[in-house]
């Protein structure tokens, strides 16, 4: 890594040394300050979609996603105010209400990042109406399954497929509430000739939307995978 200039910032009142090019999140991580994340994954490009890692910066009424906001000298960051806790809880509730998430019949039960976060923020009931529409499940592939009923549209799989495996089989179709992850040009997974069946999508999925059939779920997940490959590339 090239020598980059030091930036002094304050996170939750603690003085932290960061480097130019750091995001708020990376600086906080180095200083062992916890900021909740969901769509973010070390080694993948930042997406800024889940809005869980939003923080307050003194002097601005706006909220900043810590995964994409670069640090600058003298920045004073608050990661855990009452407003932020409330917003994060709302975000989790909204994600849970969007699709029929039922933990008891989910392969990810007990290993789910969404479930963990919901527990952490005390989401014990939903204040908004739940959506019970059934979505497609693609079971055509030999061992990879995508269950759109569980997808939270974090785009981790899309980014891993494009940036790590380099085949860009997965992408998103439609927009807004109709957004959906698709294989190739919205085909059955089995008919995809570009998919290398590398399972990276299943490894990075934070919930049980993409998984390997008949495998114990704890074995599939490998959140460090992306980071590892990137370090091997010398990036």
């Amino acid at each position: 890594m090239s020598v980059s200039s030091v930036v002094k910032i304050k996170i939750d009142g603690v003085e932290v040394t960061a480097y130019e090019g750091d995001t708020i999140l990376s600086a906080a991580k180095r200083a062992s300050i916890y900021i909740p994340t969901l769509c973010y994954l070390d080694g993948l490009s930042s997406y800024g979609g889940c809005r869980l890692c939003i923080v307050e910066v003194k002097g601005s009424p706006k909220l900043f996603p810590s995964c994409t906001t670069p640090v600058s000298n003298g920045m004073e960051i608050i990661t855990n105010s009452e407003r932020l806790r409330k917003f994060r809880k709302l975000t989790l509730g909204l994600i849970l209400s969007e699709k029929p998430h039922i933990c008891s019949i989910c392969v990810a039960n007990g290993h789910c990042e969404l479930q963990d976060l919901a527990k952490e923020f005390g989401v014990d009931h939903l204040r908004v109406e739940r959506e019970w529409t059934a979505h497609k499940i693609d079971l055509t592939h030999d061992f990879l399954v995508i269950d759109h009923n569980r997808c939270i549209l974090c785009a981790r799989c899309i980014r891993a497929c494009d940036e790590i495996e380099g085949v860009h089989v997965l992408d998103m179709k439609m927009r807004g509430k109709d957004s959906q992850v698709i294989v190739d040009m919205d085909e059955d997974w089995a008919s995809s000739r570009s998919c290398t069946s590398c399972r990276k999508c299943a490894r990075v999925c934070p919930v049980g939307a993409i998984y390997v059939r008949d495998k114990p779920f704890s074995e599939i997940k490998d959140k460090e995978m992306a980071k590892f490959i990137l370090s091997r590339r010398g990036l």
């Binding site: 706006k62 917003f87 927009r175 509430k177």
Partner: protein, 551 residues
């Protein structure tokens, strides 16, 4: 071509037009075309021939003079006589009386002087007066003089300084100082640089940019070339909605003619400056008008916004420095260069200089496209220019800023129109849409309508906008059906503030505005719906009532 050649064309064209005593401009914009404007063009040409006044009367197609509700419209110069609802029969009469005998046909004239009295037309300076399909018309009206001035007498830095001095702010809605934005791109070392003109106007009831492109495409192109000269870009893109076929055709023709005169291309007017413009057609998404969404779309990707920084000024199209301006901002540039920044800074208010185009629609007597100086009050716009409420009904609210604007009540009518005042009141400048709402409208229904639009147009990337807005719409729907609970009001407010503060881009950050402002100014209507199962405007519950009668 050299600058002198352009000046010569201007002279010759002015001379040619001077032969004619009269000029009949027939509006052939999207508003008048469906009412047979092209037939009218023929009818006038025939009438002029029939009465033998071809040598003193020029019949030309033109853009929109702004009075869209009374089309087809004909603007007769000199004198600026506007004839409304013209038919081929009326055309003969007009030629016979006005041109041959010199007496205007009073009963066919657009009699609303108030519509134009408080307007100030800078951006729309040529709209309705020139033929948008002929570059010579634009040049004769003083066009491309600003470009010549920039290329021959000014350095890029001087151009930016002039724009900064004018105080011009982005007309796309956010109001960012234009000079500052140009400066950011100009100081970037990374090349090539790009400029993008945003003509992805997707709001319901808004047609200002469209009319501008259809009436005076060269004002946009000239502004764009100047901006490229100022920041050092060699490639530009005009991103225009594919749903605006006439605007696309007009711009395409304008670009062809500008290229033929060497106003774009290599070595422009022998100054050594190269700049090309390409048209890019939108793919039918409202979100593609967002600053980073437009970049994704031009690159050929799905139009989704991305978080900033990095700002497009440092990393835009293909990671290169990119200047994005709304077309209305660009159309302001030539007059600023010609008359000086100080001249422009005197118009409007000290913090918000210049003028703004508004699409005035809804329940007003004179809807249409207007351009007013900043700082004018809403009351002046609605009751003087707009001529008051249709059919003498009572004013209830005005939605300012398009589908994500705010609904302001009667007590706010004294509000001056500028970026800060509107934001403070809960509305936005936005795309410049003003929708007037009378007492027959239900405010819950109004909030629902615009929220529903934004739900459809949300890109789905961030949770607050994708799910939060959807829930707001569903709760509004519930209230309209009479199934609301008192808690819903608090929940709506909480969700609205959350979506506004936590969303990724401008769409989500402003989409709760209709809901939040109706809750702020018309809370009693929500309460009536919930606690009394009654719609004060008598709009909701109608289906239910009629069902009950049938039973």
């Amino acid at each position: 071509m050299k600058p002198e050649d352009i000046l010569r064309i201007a002279r010759e064209e002015t001379e040619k037009q001077g032969f004619y005593k009269y000029r009949i401009n027939i509006c052939c914009s999207s508003g008048c075309l469906p009412f047979g404007a092209l037939n009218l063009l023929k009818a006038f040409e025939n009438a002029v021939k029939k009465f033998g006044v071809e040598s003193e009367c020029k019949v030309a197609r033109a853009g929109c003079p702004g009075t869209c509700s009374v089309g087809p419209v004909v603007l007769l110069e000199p004198g600026g006589y506007i004839y409304q609802n013209v038919t081929p029969e009326k055309a003969r009469e007009i030629v016979k009386s006005h041109i041959v005998a010199g007496i205007p046909v009073k009963e066919y004239l657009y009699a609303n002087e108030a519509f134009f009295k408080k307007q100030l037309r800078l951006v729309l300076r040529n709209a309705g007066k020139i033929n948008p399909m002929r570059i010579e018309d634009y040049i004769a009206a003083g066009g491309y003089q600003a470009l010549i001035k920039c290329l021959t007498k000014m350095t890029p830095k001087e151009v930016i300084d002039e724009i900064t001095a004018s105080g011009l702010r982005g007309r796309g809605g956010a109001g960012f100082p234009t000079g500052q934005k140009w400066n950011f791109v100009a100081r970037e070392k990374n090349t090539p640089k790009y400029v993008v003109a945003n003509l992805d106007e997707g709001d319901p009831g808004v047609f200002a940019n469209r009319t501008l492109a259809e009436a005076d495409p060269h004002s946009i192109i000239e502004g764009m070339i100047i901006s490229a000269y100022a920041v050092g870009a060699e490639q530009g893109y005009i991103y225009v909605r594919a749903e605006y076929p006439l605007a696309v055709n007009t711009l395409r023709e304008a670009l062809r003619q500008a290229k033929a005169m060497n106003l774009i291309g290599e070595n422009i007017l022998e100054s050594g400056f190269n700049f090309n413009i390409e048209l890019r057609l939108g793919a039918g998404a409202f979100i593609a008008g967002e600053e980073t969404g437009i970049l994704a779309s031009i690159e050929g990707r799905r139009a989704t916004p991305r978080p900033r920084p990095p700002y497009p000024a440092t990393s835009g199209l293909w990671g290169k420095p990119t200047l994005i301006n709304n077309v209305e901002t660009l159309a302001n540039v030539p007059p600023i260069i010609l008359n000086g920044g100080d001249w422009f800074a005197k118009i409007g208010t000290p913090k918000c200089t210049g003028t703004k185009c508004f699409s005035l629609t809804g329940k007003v007597n004179n809807p249409g496209l207007i351009e007013v100086p900043m700082g004018i009050t809403l009351r002046e716009v609605i009751f003087e220019i707009g001529g008051g409420i249709l059919r003498g009904r009572k004013f209830k609210a005005v939605l300012v800023g398009g589908p994500s604007g705010g609904c302001l009540p009667e007590s706010m009518l004294g509000l001056p129109i500028d970026y800060e005042s509107l934001t403070k009141a809960g509305a936005i400048m936005g795309s410049g849409g003003i929708v007037v709402i009378d007492d027959t409208a239900c405010m819950v229904d109004t909030a629902w309508f615009f929220t529903d639009f934004c739900v459809d147009e949300s890109c789905g990337k961030c949770v607050p906008c994708r799910v939060g807005l959807l829930k707001i719409r569903n709760i509004l729907e519930r209230i309209m059906k009479g199934e609301g609970k008192m808690d819903d009001i608090d929940l709506l407010e909480e969700l609205g503030v959350y979506v506004r503060d936590a969303s990724l881009c401008g769409l989500g950050q402003t989409a709760p505005n209709p809901t939040l402002t109706t809750l702020r100014y018309f809370r009693d209507e929500y309460v009536a719906h919930i606690s009394e199962k009654r719609c004060p405007a008598g709009k909701c519950f109608k289906e239910q009532a009629s069902l009950e009668v049938k039973e």
